[in-house]
Symmetry: C2
Subunit: 300 residues, 2 copies
């Protein structure tokens, strides 16, 4: 039995736009986020309180956070790398933070310049301080299947990191297939192992469609009782190899798939596509989502 309903966590405004070469005007970001909320998305990762020097694309995080459209039932989150980021998140009155580590040492070192253990130590205080103020927290775990530097990642490592994040106070772990290498067998192995320590309802899956396996992996996740999936409107978030190649699973493609599977997600496919079309105009290029391209072609 597959879940009858699924929660989509929209990561486009943060995970997508932070990877754009050009910073997007703040007003366009806010219009994008508003369209996403109006399309029925209930969890939207809006921005990241990282150093503006490191990621200038999100230097307007405070302004974005301050002007987020108020919508009943919509929870906005922001990535927070450290205590300084949390301070800014608190000022901006963001109700939910996200912290970010990985299951591969080399990736963590190259990505955030510390060991996994150090990253968890840093998050311990951040998450505790956030929760003390009534905020909630999500934890991302990158490279849960294959690491671009180390190759295969042991499911035990994923379980350990996921369990540590839960122990320090996040209410959900998002397990990422950072380079899009996983197939359903990998999803089964990792989920079976992680679920020994983390309740399945606290596990989200974050797939990349780099090699066309994302929806097969979603299917595997559904069969394993996972009910939360991350995606990015239009497939925003990087074209690792070639124009048309994709990174993040596109929200449109995920919504089409769920609709076709008879699984409720509460998100309107055409409205998501409208949000993507508007951001395509700002970016001056087409986004990789296949459903988006279909919907655009039928509108012409």
């Amino acid at each position: 039995m597959l879940p009858s309903r699924v929660t989509i966590v929209e990561v486009g405004p943060r995970d997508g736009l932070q990877n754009e070469a050009q910073p997007i005007p703040t007003g366009d970001k806010l219009a994008f986020i508003e369209r996403l909320a109006d399309a029925g998305l209930r969890f939207i990762e809006a921005t990241s309180f990282v150093s503006p020097k490191r990621i200038p694309q999100l230097a307007d995080a405070a302004e974005v956070a301050a002007k987020l459209p108020s919508r009943a039932g919509v929870t906005y989150s922001a990535l927070v790398p450290n205590a300084k980021g949390l301070e800014r998140a608190i000022e901006a009155k963001i109700p939910r933070i996200a912290v970010f580590t990985a299951a591969s040492e080399t990736f963590t070192q190259k990505n955030i310049g510390m060991s996994i253990e150090q990253s968890l130590d840093g998050f311990r205080e951040v998450v505790a301080a956030a929760r003390a103020r009534g905020m909630t927290a999500r934890g991302y775990v990158s490279t849960c299947f294959v690491c671009p530097y180390e190759g295969e990642v042991a499911p035990d490592r994923v379980r350990d990191v996921a369990a540590s994040l839960l122990a320090l106070g996040v209410d959900e772990v998002s397990l990422g297939d950072t380079i899009g290498a996983a197939a359903p067998r990998d999803v089964e192995r990792v989920i079976e192992r992680v679920a020994a320590s983390v309740p399945r309802e606290k596990i989200a899956l974050h797939f990349h469609d780099t090699y066309g396996t994302a929806l097969a992996n979603v299917h595997a996740g559904l069969q394993l009782g996972i009910g939360t999936f991350d995606s990015s409107a239009g497939g925003l978030g990087g074209c690792p190899y070639a124009p048309g190649a994709s990174g993040n699973l596109a929200t449109e493609d995920l919504v089409y798939f769920l609709d076709r599977m008879g699984i409720w997600c509460g998100v309107d496919l055409r409205q998501i596509a409208s949000a993507s079309v508007a951001i395509e105009k700002v970016l001056g290029r087409s986004l990789p989502s296949k459903q988006l391209q279909r919907i655009k072609s039928t509108r012409a």
Copy 2:
């Protein structure tokens, strides 16, 4: 339990190249086919004995068939629309033919100008005559899930057409998702119905990756005990909506998926990619396969 091994039916030289705007030089087609055989593919649909007026891209069918590289264990097939086509196939000594109909009346009418019943009547004599000469036959059924004209297709229709094809002498039916609309639930519904009349080992699945669902559907097919899948090197076979959008599931993407699932298919991913790279040069454009693009990027 998934099957431990899978058969891939390569349809690129026929289904792919027939859709190219420009006819490809015969020598390039033969070199492409030779590379596919050398990569480990055991079933290759090489050409089609259709009217050269209708499909000038395959006007060299007789020459291609006559010069096919002889490889132990490799079976070449050719599409045969009628008695005239069979005559040419016999002359060319092709050991296996394929006939082609659909599960939707409107699609069949628009695609081949007759009713499903008429198409089956026509194939009855063709397949019988082929078998009388020791040839074997495969039957394609298009629009097994959604028809671009009629919408949803009833699984009973697919079962009826598949069973009729089997009754008239084909040893395998290939069920096609012509517009790439299916999701695993559709695959389950159709296979459960068809398998009531057709043994599962005689069912092949032919998916299009138009909306990113092809590998999810392969996964569903594997779970239903299906062990034969069609694909096309590089994803040859039409870009219905946009550059980068794909039609046929790419052989490279299927082989990567099966390798990663631990399922044997006997096909070497990098050698398939070499075949695709060579045909890309002839076509003067990139093919949509994501694995192909990855492999090319790591070679540079």
